[in-house]
Symmetry: C2
Subunit: 311 residues, 2 copies
Amino acid sequence: MSVAGRFERIALIGFGLIGGSIARAARQQGVAGEIVTTARSEKTRARVAELGIVDHVVASNADAVKDADLVILCIPVGACGPVAAEIAPHLKPGAVVSDVGSVKGAIVRDMAPHLPANVHFVPAHPVAGTENSGPDSGFAELFINRWCILTPPDGVDAGAIDHLRAFWAALGAKVEIMTPDHHDRVLAITSHLPHLIAYTIVGTADELAQVTESEVIKFSAGGFRDFTRIAASDPTMWRDIFLSNKDAVLDMLGTFTEDLSKLTRAIRRGDGDALFDHFTRTRAIRRGIVDIGQDSAAPDFGRPLPQLKKP
Amino acid sequence: MSVAGRFERIALIGFGLIGGSIARAARQQGVAGEIVTTARSEKTRARVAELGIVDHVVASNADAVKDADLVILCIPVGACGPVAAEIAPHLKPGAVVSDVGSVKGAIVRDMAPHLPANVHFVPAHPVAGTENSGPDSGFAELFINRWCILTPPDGVDAGAIDHLRAFWAALGAKVEIMTPDHHDRVLAITSHLPHLIAYTIVGTADELAQVTESEVIKFSAGGFRDFTRIAASDPTMWRDIFLSNKDAVLDMLGTFTEDLSKLTRAIRRGDGDALFDHFTRTRAIRRGIVDIGQDSAAPDFGRPLPQLKKP
């Protein structure tokens, strides 16, 4: 009767987009016995209780983790160290302790020193999300066909890793294991730099005096609107990501800036061949992403099409 | 019985995403009598004939424009000057001559000198598109609720402008009139710079030795995939856009680079407050775009959700 990846009692520290999606998916897939969650604000706790997805919602992280077989920190990266210190004395021996942070080196550095030797620390990063946040933003399908990267420190119990792997697989994710350092470099280019660039260009548009904000918004379908989605992501979460993956982000940014200079020079010199060659190469990457099901093949991301009335 | 915006004979020079969408929409909305189109390659002409949307598909632009009441050049910006010279002797007196180019200053400069005084030249830019190209990529709904910007030179017949405005309105577009120069500045920030940045970052990812291409593709759901869509746009079209709107693009690029330096400095110095403030401001722009219906309010652009089987 036991489903692969099931934990009898799960504590989710935080119930935002990721915590809320884990709760919904785990419930739906039958891999959670009891689920207890915490939220810092009274308002969020009231909303979570109202949603009725979890069994208990409490204010105290220490209370939440008592007797939990799986504890997942679903909070901004910068908050994980202090919370690890707070929950450490209350963890059940043998519990799996994990997180969902977009940076892994800093998580290991900040959390590991606080955790007792009798728990299994398996940091995780589900590479999935939307631009929304808060207790209502989660949904059970978020992790389907997305990768979840585990970065267990050396010597972590193989059974604990397998158990967490099966849990994420039950939620629909494909699981991969890598070192925290490699994770942070991969994500710097596939996620952190894109967010930084999007935040920058949306800010640039906001500042321009010669183009009113209303024009930027009106004519955004020419390309700009694609950047505004990720530039609407949670500010606290992203502040913490850039502060804790500083080196890899600055390194990728250096390469990006050099490449931008090359294209700028080609435009300034009117070098059409260089532009054409570059623009041809980049098409192949899109094709690769669509081919392995990491994006929709429908034009325009499959945005819904309006209909015209017949004249 | 005459529908507002109807033209009895329309010549579309080129049948790609935009030409093909105009043909489909004009047909569906009853604003086209006969439609004749041209395509440079034999293969495309055969495919257009097979699609059965237009009445005639011919190889010669000169033949196509004979007796046409509306001629629209639906080809890359760089090709518009030579084609204007080619069709000029064959235009019907009183015809409306237009285009769909993403740059307007260069279009006026390159086309106007060739056109006879007895036609009405009304350059146009429908701010709509997808990453796809070719005769099969068009669809009738492309222009619905999108802006079409007209940039008629001084002294153009008001009746001709109104007729073309009504035509685009029938296709579902909202029409706005501005100067070519203002158009080129607005589009530099809302469309051209976003494409340049997207082409750059996708190229940067392609080059990185420490992250294999397969990892970039696998973990693209963390943000990167949003950039790959517009970096898969037609290379010839975009080469021409950057070459013909050089000054405005370089100017916007200067501002963008300054802003990127500011955020880079905030990361390097660990200035979390500066990052948080910036990331909070950019959320409002997304809200504005969704509020006026220029993007879907659904998370993740409304990308289709997969479903999990019950365990």
